[in-house]
Amino acid sequence: MTIFRIFTSLLFLLLSFSVSAQKGPMKWGRVLKADLEMTEYNLEPDAEAVVLGEYATIDFSFDSDVVNYEFFFHKRIKILKESAVDRGNISIGYSGKGGFERIRGLKAQVIFPDGSREELGKKDFFEEKVTDNWRRKKFAFPNLKPGCVIEYKYKKISEGINTLEDWYFQEGIPVRFSQIQVDIPSVYQYVYLIESGSQKIEHTEDNNIQGGGGATSFKANRVTFKAENIPAMKEESYITTMRDYQASVRFQLKEILYSSGSSQKFLSTWKELAKELEENKSLGRNYLKSSTHSNVVNAAKSHIDKSASHLDKIKQAQKFITSQMKWDGSYGIWCKESLNKLFAKKIADGAEINLMLLAILRSQGLNAYPALTSTRDHGKTIHLYPIYEQFNHIMVYLEVDGKPIILDALDAFHPVGYPHSNSLNHFAWVLNKKDPKWIEVKTKNSTKSFLATFDLNVEGDLKGTINAGSNGYYAITEREEFHDSKYGDWKNVLEGTFPEVQIDSIEVINKEEIDKSLKVNIDCTIAKAAQVNGDFIYLNPVVSPAYGENRFKLEKRNYPVDQIHPWKENYILNLTIPEGYDLEELPEPVLLALPADGGRFSHQIKKIDDTHIQLVSKVTIKQTYFSPEEYLGLKKFIDLIIEKQEEQIVLKKKS
């Protein structure tokens, strides 16, 4: 009896141990009968597949020289439609030896509706060496048809304890259940960056856990994030990146508390982060220590007028650096080499070029600082914690006459104060250990103006001149187009509306002077611009409308509209109508505005005298961010502008 008792108590011990070691809510190979029989997912009957469950655990290990963690992952997907069978082609990325990650214990199997199964063998798993630091384990589930359930699991050993794994609860198909459980040794303190994506994410903690095993066991805190019945995420356009709205959780190591009582901080304060970055050889030292950038600064000297105003010096410095350096198209915040070495190579990434500009400006006595940011496609900035991994780009910040200026010298077309579109992600962080701060990244308006002076003849032809001007982002695009062709994009634009247009002459002013407005003067003849029928001539007076069509077609959106910058378009037409005709019909004037002055539209047509009319049509959009609730208002606003700008002028022959 005693033996039996010990036995059962041992059993209990074993059971409780295995409970704490349980790998989660899904058992390999054990699929619910209802799931096998499922022919459509009740919450989204149209879905082509559904993630039945996705589960991961992270366990730390101190067994080897370097601390590492084991990421265990198990995913199960139900294929519901034939169009989803390609979801059976799986690719698992990891950094491989170079990045100190490896994959073990990869298993995959298909479970058919009748309960039978087929397991993949070693020969079905391929490893692709994408680059030196990135690999992919790839495999394809065989025999897939609607009704099949596929599941796979693996373990990844990694040393990346700083950020562990990014966990996404949401994807292109619905997810019934998603959970990540991390057993964090009590000595490690993490912060959790949760993006709820309008979903309910359950967060629980249990700090009575025993981690590790054998020689190295430790006290741990079990953190669990769970979400259920998550809808599929569908892409929408005019957005920074869908990842900003995708339900997810990310981890960031904050501090390690050693048993001795001391601690190592990974996330401290913004001030401390600023100090560390300024002292870093690949960042701060590069523009603070003169030996690293002396060649750049010296080469720039002859291009900067010592007596010029601050603003002029900035323009000259930016012009110099963009003429010397070519942007390789990539982003990062760490300099791969000293600025001197990169300058000699003539090619560098975005931050490296901007830091060269920064060094030049500082050598000229200007108080310039790096402005760190995350580009639009990289994700939104995180202000709550001083996490440097959020940044992938550096611009230059300074104040001139009390006004902030942000510089982004990636090519020769962008004037001072107009960063590249991808760099416009609302905020940047100024790196200055004395006064680190978050600033708003804003640009001035970009304006396009179009003054057309035309004579209309009885055949419906227009002949006259177009005097167009553009600045800001409009000018940047136009200058790039003029770089490629004598007509820039004008031929395409005009021929797009009027196939019979003939450009008699074109003059481009300030093509290279990027700080000035770009001016284009065109003489042209547009045959058949107006529709002539009997006694009537019908003309659409807006030769260059603000919108070709309304790209916002949907009645509702789930995600905000993030237009990159504010803009203005002014259209003026001075029209002379042919002798012998009366103005039969003119469009009514209109004045529209978006709430809180987010945008304005005015359309006025005036009869100057019997043969002259003037049309002035102006569109201004100041607001760049529209919430999903404001979307419908914006869509209707644009619909009304298009409709108004399409209204015709009607002329009738005098009787």
Binding site: V130, K491, E549, L554
Partner: protein, 640 residues
């Protein structure tokens, strides 16, 4: 002693000075941009100063290519700063890569470091795993113009594909360029020049034959809209072996027939079906009343039970996986799926042959007189029924290859050899869009539109594929976003697909806000918003290349406008308009019946090749269509 030493030292110094390159004494290096003839700068972004491709072929299973090029980049539009060397891991090795950058005056700026050459996997998203890789480097010097020199060595073992010499791309001029091939005696080198009159100098001595081509001072060629594909314009030398090895297999390319024998040998004996599969094949075709029906049943079975997964390792890029592999995994690449289909057909006594083709490419380098495997895809041909099957498609109907496979010169191989064949060409009458719409207009300018559209041939492909891959919600979203109609609300939307024929029908019923623009007492009604064609090729000053028009389609639309109460027609175009040209025809008929206006439009576009002088005629044809498609009907309130 000291004096002597000094003298020697001095001598050495002088000698040293004399020997350290003429650059110290010459004004500019040989690659100075100023040395380029002005004729070679016209219309050019890149100038090839020197290029030499030396291929040494000592046996049927080895070749060593030494390549060197020196290219001047005149401006940022030049792509010569991105160098990509593709290779196949299982057959090739790239080595001795070196690069240098020279400035505009020809002075050496720097040498490229080994670390700048990246080795990457070239596996694309449609391939699960393959041996394709590439070495690439992105060079830059922001001071244009500058010159890049590149050298490398590529060793190939056991392959059957010789490179072709692309003498120049668009906007690239050539100062000097050489191709030298020396082959061992047993191998007859096949060669052909395209778009250039150039013969090699041939030297035969004992074991080796040397062929040398040389090109000097070629002006840059501009690309133009609506021109033939690059293989009909750009100068090239095509090369092909007569004897070759692929892995452990030997073959000859002296004729298409010989190549066919090799392909047959390579893929032989891989069509054995398992007993279980044989039973399945008999089972599902048991009730079929004809061969055609059997083919349709088996094709459907293939589509529903297999999918495309590309695994191309080594010889697997050319040799098919067995039928057994496909039936076990129910996936395969184009070769395996085609072979599988062939095996199933064989089981029911239907003979079929694999056909090698080049899918999606605009070029067609395959020709009778020159045997070289410029293929990237396999389809299946059943001569007895004149049937063609695309075995990787989940949604094509039977006997339909798709626009990326049609009208190609392809290669069909059999047990006894092989020959060139032409894949079906879908003509205009087979590629139709037929709109049948009723537009009910309201006095507000809003309209109710119901439309049923029949699409056939190449015009139905994207509807068929959307129907297969997208949910109803996503289909409606796509429709909302793609149409050139003003904002509308969907009452009904449906796509129906014909199982057997390449036909799809799109039906919709929508309410449009502001279909017509209102202006006081007038309404301006666009006649054709549902199927307007506005593309006009750009105007040019003096055209060089001939025209090659590839559009081949025929649209027939009927739209009935129901006019609003209280309005009458103030202006409408003439009741009949016909425009007939070599390029096609355009016909509009308008008929008023009470308060209805019936608008009939026919547009046929015909493919063809024309001399450069006809470009303006073609532009005028497209302009007329564009203008007439955008005409608005003007309605005015009736006088009460």
């Amino acid at each position: 002693m000291t004096a002597m030493k000094n003298k020697i030292l001095l001598m050495g110094l002088v000698l040293f000075c004399l020997n350290t390159g003429s650059s110290l004494f010459a004004q500019n290096g040989i690659y100075a941009v100023s040395n380029i003839d002005s004729e070679l700068l016209k219309d050019a972004h890149t100038v090839i100063r020197y290029e030499k491709m030396e291929i040494h072929i000592p046996s049927a299973s080895k070749s060593v290519m030494k390549y060197k090029s020196v290219k001047t980049l005149l401006n940022e539009n030049s792509h010569a700063d991105e160098l990509v060397i593709s290779y196949d891991k299982s057959f090739n090795k790239i080595g001795k890569i070196k690069g240098k950058i020279y400035d505009a005056s020809g002075r050496l700026v720097r040498e490229l470091k080994k670390s700048e050459f990246k080795d990457r996997s070239a596996v694309d998203h449609s391939t699960m795993y393959g041996d394709d890789r590439y070495v690439s480097v992105k060079v830059s010097h922001s001071d244009y113009p500058y010159t890049v020199e590149l050298e490398y060595k590529k060793t190939e073992k056991k392959f059957m594909y010789y490179p072709y010499w692309a003498i120049q791309g668009y906007k690239t001029s050539v100062e000097k360029s050489f191709l030298i091939v020396d082959v061992f005696n047993g191998n007859q080198l096949g060669y052909k020049s395209l778009n250039i009159d150039l013969e090699p100098k041939i030297k035969k001595d004992g074991d080796n034959h040397e062929y040398a081509w040389e090109v000097t001072n070629r002006k840059a060629i501009k690309g133009e809209a609506v021109s033939p594909s690059w293989n009909k314009i750009l100068p090239m030398i095509l090369l092909t072996p007569s004897e070759f090895n692929l892995g452990e297999y030997r073959g000859t390319m002296t004729s298409w027939n010989a190549y066919g024998k090799f392909m047959n040998e390579l893929n032989k004996g891989r069509d054995e079906l398992t007993e279980q599969m044989k039973k399945k094949v008999y089972e599902i075709t048991a009730n079929a009343r004809s061969d055609r029906e059997k083919i349709n049943i088996l094709y459907k079975y293939l589509q529903e039970n297999t999918r495309y997964v590309g695994v191309q390792l080594g010889i697997g890029g050319w040799q098919t996986f067995s039928a057994k592999y496909v039936s076990e995994n129910e996936y395969g690449d184009c070769k395996a799926l085609t072979n599988y289909m062939k095996s199933m057909l064989k089981e029911v006594g239907i003979v079929s042959y694999p056909v090698l083709t080049n899918r999606g490419a605009s070029h067609n380098l395959i020709q009778e007189e020159f045997v070289a495997p410029y293929f990237n895809h396999v389809i299946l041909n059943i001569p007895s029924e004149d049937y063609w099957l695309e075995c990787t498609s989940s949604d094509h109907p039977p006997n339909y290859l798709g626009s990326d496979n049609e009208n190609k010169t392809a290669f069909r191989y059999t047990e006894s050899g092989g020959e060139l064949v032409k894949t079906p060409d879908y003509k205009a009458e087979q590629n139709q869009e037929k709109n049948n719409a009723i537009i009910t207009l309201l006095a507000t300018g809003d309209a109710h539109l119901s439309n049923e559209i029949l699409y056939t041939g190449t015009q139905q492909e994207r509807y068929r594929s959307s129907k297969f891959y997208l949910s109803q919600e996503d289909l409606e979203k796509k429709f909302l976003e793609s149409e050139s109609l003003p904002s509308f609300a969907i009452n009904k939307y449906e796509i129906r697909v014909n199982e057997i024929k390449p036909e799809a029908t799109e039906t919709y019923d929508i309410d449009i806000k502001r279909y017509a623009t209102k202006g006081g007492k007038r309404l301006f009604v666009p006649l054709n918003l549902i199927n307007a064609i506005s593309y006009v090729p750009p105007s040019t000053e003096k055209r060089i290349h001939p025209l090659e028009i590839r559009s081949d389609m025929f649209d027939e639309d009927q739209t009935t406008f129901k006019l609003p109460e209280g309005y009458e027609i103030e202006s409408m175009p003439e009741p009949t308009f016909t425009l007939e040209t070599d390029f096609g025809f355009y016909k509009v008929d308008l008929k008023v019946e009470g308060n209805q206006l019936i608008y009939n439009r026919k547009l046929k576009l015909t493919p063809g090749e024309y001399p450069a002088e006809r470009y303006e005629d073609y532009r005028n044809f497209r302009k007329e269509i564009g203008t007439r498609d955008s005409i608005k009907l003007v309605l005015v309130k009736k006088k009460t």
